[in-house]
Symmetry: C2
Amino acid sequence: MGESTLIYCKLNKIKQNKEFIMYAISMAMLLLLLRFLEYKFLILQNEFGLYIGIIALFFTFLGIWASNKLTSPKVKTIVIEKEIVVEKRLDFVVNEEELNNRKISKRELEVLELMAQGLSNQEIASRLFVSLNTIKTHSSNLFQKLEVKRRTQAIETAKKIGIIE
Amino acid sequence: MGESTLIYCKLNKIKQNKEFIMYAISMAMLLLLLRFLEYKFLILQNEFGLYIGIIALFFTFLGIWASNKLTSPKVKTIVIEKEIVVEKRLDFVVNEEELNNRKISKRELEVLELMAQGLSNQEIASRLFVSLNTIKTHSSNLFQKLEVKRRTQAIETAKKIGIIE
DNA sequence: AATGCAGTCATACTTTTGAGTGATTTATTG
DNA sequence: CAATAAATCACTCAAAAGTATGACTGCATT
């Protein structure tokens, strides 16, 4: 009786109850088959039936234990690829080299940025608290430095060479 | 001797040699222990030794089989996060919805694109083999549909709502 | 002290852009 | 067939953009 509780505990520990119940039933049937064979071929005496059963049980669980403990576990690996879209515009940095090469001043860059936002010269002038003529001068100088003729081209070029976002 | 080669073949088939060699050794020792017990307690006769061994082997492999076949495999889910840097310009698709909602025609869109490239109205007219006045009409209509006042604003808005690159 | 540069502003002038209006032609669609 | 939308063009007028030139200031470098 002490043995059966120990077996029960082991079964609990393994935690695959359903399969082991099925297995226990098949095992019990095999034992019955053996008992039947005892009488058929007169190989065993009655008093040794229990002993054979214990041997069978012991080696069965030894096999289970060996398989569970010494065998590397079956692992089914499912690889899920999760796509993460990275926005490119987040890490915008001003191309300092172009600014230096073309000698574009801070003020000119300011004007260029407001231009790209679609402001008129008058609006830029008001925003920066200077006269309309000053903005015209700045933009004229800008066009020369960017080698363009119009503000739309200036915006296009400036974005391409990376001096505005 | 036929038995041991059979066992060896089965062990080979299972392909977990090292653990099963250890197991085989421990099993052999247990059989020796049982043989020792045979003489100690006089439970078994010599002629049944082979029978006991077969029973032990059979139930051992039954246990191994049961453990391997009836055990559900452990599912290991590996989530691989795959970073995809999206070039904003590469996968550009025209926002058809905005075009339809604002009722911007094909020709107007053409003019808008050339505008964004920095062309003047006269240059656009020459490019499309139409008169300057036609381009003016197109751009005027565009500005109304985009709810802007200037071409620079038109470009800005058009890019934002995704109707041009 | 002299030089150079960025930033400012002005004046005069030309070109481009844009608003407003109206008209014609050509498909397409109900 | 009539209605509609798209595309075309013209004309006028006003506003904005852009060119060219010169000048003044403050600041830093030489």
